[in-house]
Amino acid sequence: MKEISGTTELCLCVNGEERRASVRPGDTLMRVLREKLGLTGTKCGCENGDCGACTVLFDGKPTKSCMVLAVECDGIEITTIEGLATHPVQQAFTEENGFQCGFCTPGMILNAVALVTAHPETDEEADREWMQSNLCRCTGYEGIRNALATARILLNPQD
């Protein structure tokens, strides 16, 4: 049985790289990404699993990193907004003005990347169900919805 007490150096797989950080068992993944690894694209919003600003991909699945302890992440591929580089979903958000203040945008984009990967064809029910996980206080939802449609076209140009 693996046991971790006190501060321990942990190896995390983040954006395809092995990253080392000193963590306590009580440190959430969101805090470690931001404060130990400098990946501040993962935003700290409610820290209660409500807003989705801290969403990362956890083996490809959108996950709120404020509700995950870093010590649980052994063997998990974590993708943050920094790991996307130039993804068609990012281009679509730019083209459709799928953001206003931009605070929710990293979480929105990561959730949208997972969504259009799982549902390459337009699926309004899935879009609604998945994107309800992220809140935009600027209420820029129209641009975000349009960005999903544009992202699918960019990813599947033959359609």
């Binding site: 046991e3 068992p25 995950v68 302890l69 309800q132």
Partner: protein, 274 residues
Amino acid sequence: MIAAEFPYLRADTAEEAVDAWSRYKGARYLAGGTEITTSARRTAAPAVTALVDIKHIPEVNIHEMQKDFLILGAALTLADVVEGDAFPFLSATLRGIADHSVRNRLTLGGNVTGMLPYREAVLPLLLADASLQSIAPGKEGAPPVRREQKLKDVFDKRLILAPGELVLSFSVPITATELAWSHHRKTRTGPVDYPLVTSCLIREEEEIRLAISGAHPYPVRSDEVDAALTKDSVVAVDQAIGLLGAFRTDARGSADYRTALLGNMIRASLEELS
């Protein structure tokens, strides 16, 4: 972030998990961790003396048919169960809980054993007469004890577990996964909110069974209510609701409003199932 200092233990077997719990009195089992991380941050929960991570135990991740039963591991995420869709009634109920991203973390066992009043996952499991498999520390140094019990026999407002008892899985009779069902859920705001009332009905031949959440500070299923509904279903709705006891009033809605909602839900369900 959880301010308290505590050890994290990752168990590879169920026996290791209960042994770890025995070594750290007050330890909590960790699967999805959503309730632990949020309540501990707000210091709303008792202090954590240790977290025992159970996600790497193979039997809590089972998701398969075995003979006449569907076996659902306690650490399966709600999203896993919904995507597997082997029990559509359960899938429909789970889709109402939290939001899609959170369902990628929330676990079946965590929802059923959690501290929140709603615990909607238990409703279809109770109606389907599911059983649960668990393991508990042995007394005075004896080996851990495994047991299987009917969920309805160990659920009274909440799951009644022995100290340190760990839920491993739920088994649902395959015949129950094929019964006609109806699920209704109303919230105060939008789809991502706790329910004012969630009602689940299942029909087995002439028998109607009802389980609800949101109207009380705990989920409710009652043989007396089922008998009333089955006896004279449409006329007996008000009588059945009366048997459910006092409904609660809170910021989301009054007891009267919840009563009216549930009446409408049950009548709609009975029509669907007729």
